[in-house]
């Protein structure tokens, strides 16, 4: 009886030692993995910072203007005039008729009341 208990206990001790060691080993591996990932994250962060700086430099108006001026002739680029920006409601829309309006159907396609916009030279009547 005692011998059996002893055997079981010895087996338990060995098992516990093995288990402890394997846990220790695994935790070391995980720690190494964590460090590797952290290094990688730091590198990625730096790269992101660098790319952001690069993007800010490449998309800066100063540079875009230089490029636009250089290729203006080839691409037919021009500086927009402040008057070329108008509100949506200033655009003449399609004529509105009640459905079934005979007269409306006849002249459909012809603006009944052209909207006047002051933004276009000679626009409106």
């Amino acid at each position: 009886m005692m011998r059996l208990v002893n055997l079981v206990l010895v087996a338990l001790v060995i098992a516990a030692a093995t288990w402890t060691y394997s846990i220790k080993h695994e935790s070391e591996q995980r720690l190494a993995e964590i460090r590797r990932l952290e290094r990688q994250i730091a590198l990625e962060r730096q790269t992101i910072d660098l790319l952001k700086a690069d993007w800010a430099h490449l998309s800066h108006p100063q540079r875009l203007q230089l490029l636009a001026e250089r290729y203006a002739a080839d691409l037919g680029l021009e500086t927009p005039d402040a008057n070329q920006f108008i509100a949506v409601e200033e655009l003449p829309g399609p004529p509105q008729f009640d459905p079934g309006d005979a007269v409306g159907d006849i002249i459909a396609g012809e603006p009944s009341d052209p909207l006047t916009t002051g933004s276009i030279d000679g626009g409106g009547q």
């Binding site: 964590i34 460090r35 952290e38 730091a42 962060r45 730096q46 910072d49 660098l50 952001k52 700086a53 690069d54 993007w55 800010a56 430099h57 998309s59 800066h60 108006p61 100063q62 203007q65 500086t79 927009p80 005039d81 402040a82 008057n83 920006f85 108008i86 509100a87 002051g118 933004s119």
Partner: protein
């Protein structure tokens, strides 16, 4: 999950009296039992302790990851600076720095020779002294290029290595140089908003070593990179076109006091600031003082109207020059007649303006300019702010000349801020380089003139842009109003005819101004085919071009239904 413990038949400590029958060596056994019990108890206690601690560690979170990262003290991180739309204005990038470990260097001569073969301008003596000093560690050069790093690596000199350190990079180069500011080689802010950020307590963070770059929130400014670029681009062109020695401009949100763009030329490249401290490259808009000339007539007129002693119908005699002692005050475009207030404003009459100031009196005049903040050092986030200059004692003659902008030197930025108060209903809002809402601005604002006076000023500004000296500043659909200023500069103690300081002060749309624009051009020459160089001929068209290009970015829509007469209807 509940589970039942198996009932133990006998525990390690059987109850007294329930012992098994005594065999041989029973005393021994009894002693053994007792010791065994103590041993077992000790082991259980120790392992329980270890187990308990393990559980405790398992339950507590690890400290943040920084415990593992190498926290390098050289990497003094700073927050990114971004504009109002989130575009990057300044950021940290990593650059390698070269160091040596003299104790590991075998032959200093050879090392220096080899390094000099790939690095420019090596100081032989200095490096030789450093590398043979026997110290553990010496810096050789900071901020070397990645390419140079690769070349030094290829040399394979033992005892020479690299460490990464942080460097400040400004993607926009000189575009917003004067606002963003500068850092020194240790990454401490020395100018502009960079310095402001440090003064707000970043410096202490760095000393404590708590500056993890990703932990620092970016600092958002009120600047709009697109508008900033437009202002700078137009001013660069204007400087060339009129062969001026300097120029500057500011766009101010009239309702919040936010500075949307501010440029001072000549400027410098903050990525290579070798000339940033030249006297000529200071920030003229906030750190330079000038006699602002005729733009000051707007303040004199507002003062006279606000006092109630002068109305738009009042008339002033401008037939004779004012003689004061040995001085004579003349008009540039003399009309030689009696002028109403609007005529005085659009013909920019010195004589009539001086008489307007006379109505208010010397003390009232000074108090008014003080109320508009034109005589005191402005309080803003930028560290580079100059103190205005005024006469030690205001006499009648001072009041006369100051009424048309000579005799007081103030900064252009202050002038723009005070002008915003003239047109926005009379509320003086301190300028800001950080974003600010209208509600915050209203809490800071002080009422400096009556709302009715402000409405009259808007009418006068618009009238001047339609019929007066500001005709070239208009942009169709945006209802621009403004006032020119052509000041003579003091050269060798005398006002000179051909050294001018020109300014144009504008606001738009004039019925409810959203933005104030102020442009200065220093010593312009007449353009080809023009015989003079007044502000109406150079500063005004520059303002027109800037407004025309910037409105889409500023979000102001063109309107064609407003007329000047509507400006006065409500009063």
């Amino acid at each position: 999950m509940p589970f039942a413990l198996p009932r133990m038949r006998f525990g390690p400590f059987p109850r007294f009296g329930a012992r098994p029958a005594v065999h041989r060596g029973d005393r021994l056994m009894r002693m053994g039992r007792g010791r065994l019990g103590i041993a077992i108890g000790c082991f259980i206690a120790v392992y329980a302790l270890i187990g308990g601690r393990l559980v405790q560690y398992g339950l507590t979170d690890l400290d943040h990851a920084g415990t593992y990262g190498v926290n390098d003290r050289i990497l003094a991180a700073r927050p990114d600076l971004i504009d109002r739309r989130g575009n990057l204005l300044a950021t940290d990038i990593r650059v390698p720095a070269l160091y040596g470990e003299p104790r590991r260097i075998i032959d200093p001569d050879e090392a220096v020779e080899a390094l000099a073969s790939v690095l420019p301008d090596v100081d032989y003596q200095d490096w030789h002294r450093k590398l043979s000093s026997g110290a553990g560690f010496v810096w050789l050069r900071r901020e070397i290029t990645p390419r140079q790093q690769a070349e030094v690596m290829a040399l394979g000199i033992p005892g020479i290595g690299f460490r990464e350190e942080t460097r400040r990079f400004y993607p926009g180069g000189p575009t917003a140089a004067h606002i963003v500011g500068l850092v020194n080689i240790d990454n401490a802010g020395t100018a502009g908003i960079e310095k402001y950020v440090d003064d707000q307590g970043l410096g202490t963070l760095q000393e404590l070593g708590l500056d993890q770059s990703d932990a620092l929130e970016p600092v958002r400014l009120s600047i709009d990179t697109g508008v900033q670029h437009i202002v700078r681009d137009e001013l660069v062109q204007a400087m060339q076109r009129y062969q001026a020695i300097a120029a500057g401009g500011v766009i101010l949100n009239a309702k919040t006091g936010e500075v949307v763009a501010m440029v001072s030329l000549p400027d410098y490249d903050p990525n290579n600031p070798f000339n940033a401290l030249d006297k000529d490259r200071l920030n003229r808009m906030s750190a330079g003082t000038f006699e602002m000339g005729s733009t000051f007539k707007a303040f004199t007129t507002a003062m006279a109207l606000d006092s109630g002693l002068v109305t738009l119908e009042s008339r002033f005699d401008a037939r004779q020059p004012i003689r004061y002692g040995r001085f004579t005050i003349n008009d540039f475009h003399a009309k030689k007649r009696i002028l109403s207030v609007p005529e005085t404003f659009i013909y920019s009459s010195n004589i009539a303006t001086a008489k307007m100031a006379e109505v208010v009196g010397i003390d009232g005049h000074r108090a008014f300019l003080k109320r508009l903040g034109l005589l005191d050092r402005m309080d803003t986030q930028l560290p580079e702010v100059a103190k205005p200059l005024e006469p030690a004692e205001w006499k009648q003659l001072n009041s006369i000349t100051i009424s048309f902008g000579h005799g007081v030197s103030t900064t252009p930025l202050q002038t723009a801020v005070a002008a915003a108060a003239l047109v926005n209903g009379g509320r003086l809002i301190p300028p800001s380089f950080l974003p600010r809402t209208e509600a915050e601005a209203n809490a800071l604002a002080t009422q400096v003139i009556k709302a009715e006076t402000s409405a009259m000023m808007r009418y006068l500004f618009r009238l001047n842009a339609e019929q007066g000296s500001g005709r070239r500043a208009t942009v169709d659909g945006f209802f621009v109003g403004g006032k020119t200023g052509t000041a003579e500069k003091v050269i060798n103690g005398r006002y000179s005819d051909d050294h001018r300081f020109n300014a144009f002060l504008a606001a738009f749309p004039m019925d409810d101004p959203e933005y104030v624009v102020l442009i200065i051009i220093d010593e312009p020459k007449p353009e080809e085919g023009q015989h003079s160089a007044t502000a109406g001929l150079n500063a005004a068209p520059t303002v027109s071009r800037i407004i025309g290009r910037a409105v889409p970015l500023l979000g102001v829509e063109p309107r064609y239904d407003v007329t000047r007469d509507a400006l006065l209807v409500s009063y």
